[in-house]
């Protein structure tokens, strides 16, 4: 898919001179150098591959960015406008394009984004067994513990969640897993016989509809960040559904200071907290904590 959306020149260099497996993000900004997040390091794209020298960097233009977005929408921007309203486009291959531009609002609601000026192409990776260290602490023989994966952006939360679902599937554990996927990127590389998916739905609607219609044992969802999400989590746990979710924070202290999560912390809804960082590259395990925030791993 990257071949289809990137300009030929950029793709040729990335394909021939860059290790695509190490590329996490490609950032295109109008009249600015193309920046590549290569295993956590930010480097410029140049004719020779990746470099730190601005003078050798290749630049993106507004036309290039608009064309990349046009191609990512399969030449039909109108068909992905609901995603654009939320600030991103997901391709069929799970590549997520975060969009920057002018937000058009009407009656207080985002109508669309126009005049695109930047685009962050996030390339999904399947890192087999990346959740294995935590698996034994989360998955007990008879059940799965409610778990929250905490990390700063781009540190491997989604990859962890994907691998966890993969680990459940290869062990043939008889849990019906519901992927509640607001951005349509959670199921990339998952081929499980026990997994259902609700994509592009808000968490509140997705939790309610999913529990009612698909009767899941576990709900896996990404990026909890609003009051509605907290309400949905409380609703799900009151229904006896187990949860595996993620949120943004760079440390346990930052997370605990978030007012939004206070009710969940006080009710001890999450029994496990997995902290990830980018210290040694995305997905670095910083620790696993129990409901009392005692470190139980590392």
């Amino acid at each position: 898919m990257l071949e289809k959306i990137l300009p030929d020149k950029f793709f040729k260099i990335i394909n021939e001179k860059v290790n695509l497996k190490a590329v996490n993000e490609i950032r295109l900004r109008a009249n600015k150098p193309v920046v590549i997040n290569n295993n956590g390091k930010l480097l410029f794209l140049a004719e020779t591959g990746l470099c730190g020298d601005l003078n050798k960097a290749l630049f993106a233009s507004k036309i290039i960015i608009e064309d990349v977005i046009f191609r990512a929408s399969e030449c039909s921007i109108y068909s992905v406008n609901e995603q654009i309203k939320k600030g991103f486009i997901i391709t069929d291959d799970g590549i997520r394009l975060g969009l920057g531009g002018n937000v058009v609002e009407e009656n207080g609601k985002v109508k669309t984004i126009t005049n695109f000026s930047s685009c962050n192409i996030r390339i999904p990776h399947v890192v087999k067994n990346c959740s294995l260290n935590a698996f034994a602490y989360i998955c007990k023989q008879s059940s799965v513990e409610n778990t929250l994966v905490i990390s700063p952006p781009g540190a491997g939360k989604t990859t962890f969640l994907r691998d966890f679902v993969y680990q459940l599937s290869i062990r043939n554990l008889p849990y019906n897993v519901l992927l509640l996927d607001e951005r349509g990127e959670l199921d990339y590389g998952i081929n499980s016989n026990y997994t259902d998916k609700i994509a592009f739905s808000s968490k509140s609607e997705g939790f309610e509809n999913g529990i009612r219609s698909l009767a899941p044992d576990i709900i896996v969802t990404d990026e909890i960040g609003q009051q509605n999400d907290i309400d949905a989590i409380e609703y799900a746990t009151s229904c006896g559904v187990k949860l595996l979710a993620s949120t943004h924070a760079d440390s346990m202290e930052t997370f605990m200071a978030k007012k939004l999560f206070r009710p969940l912390i006080e009710q001890k809804i999450f029994k496990r907290y997995v902290l990830l960082s980018k210290r040694n590259g995305p997905g670095t395990f910083e620790g696993i904590y129990d409901e009392n925030f005692c470190r139980i791993y590392k």
Partner: protein, 164 residues
């Protein structure tokens, strides 16, 4: 031999007249098909929001044949990463005027590049313009289409009489 020559000259004149008259007819049918194509796109974009490629490929065959292959050329362009050009779109199409080609090219260039509301408005604006051109084509066809055929026949008869 003489009668055969008279007959051939007559046929050639009528054929030339027919060719000129059919050009007007083809233009009329082309713009009618283009309006139908744009209307269908506008409707489908509003309701099904299906991708352009699928919408174009599902366009009905009857109208499709009058589009002079523009739909196929546009679908081919969607696979490439180049700019949609006049030469590529209108190669081997001789019934359109330059300004008409420019408008049609602009129409195809705007497809798929905005949200539902703006895309629909843009298409409707183009439909209005296409309708104006189609009306001009209707008038032209009535005026010059039949005239060309009649002139062809008259010229054929004229030469036939001279040769006789």
């Amino acid at each position: 031999m003489k009668y055969l020559l008279i007959f051939i000259v007559f046929c050639v004149c009528v054929f030339v007249g027919y060719v000129f008259s059919s050009k007007y007819n083809r233009r009329k049918k082309f713009f009618a098909a283009l309006i139908s194509f744009a209307d269908k796109l506008s409707l489908e974009i509003n309701f099904s929001r299906e991708r352009l490629r699928v919408l174009i490929e599902n366009f009905d065959e009857t109208n499709k044949k009058h589009l002079l292959g523009l739909d196929e050329k546009f679908v081919n362009y969607l696979d490439k990463k180049c700019e949609l050009s006049n030469e590529e779109m209108f190669s081997k199409i001789d019934i359109l005027k330059k300004e008409e080609k420019d408008i049609i090219l602009l129409f195809f260039r705007t497809l798929g590049r905005s949200d539902v509301e703006n895309q629909t408005k843009e298409i409707q604006n183009f439909v209005k313009r296409f309708l104006e051109i189609k009306n001009e084509c209707d008038v032209e066809c009535k005026k010059y289409g039949t005239l060309s055929l009649k002139l062809g026949i008259v010229a054929g008869l004229f030469f036939a009489v001279i040769l006789f």
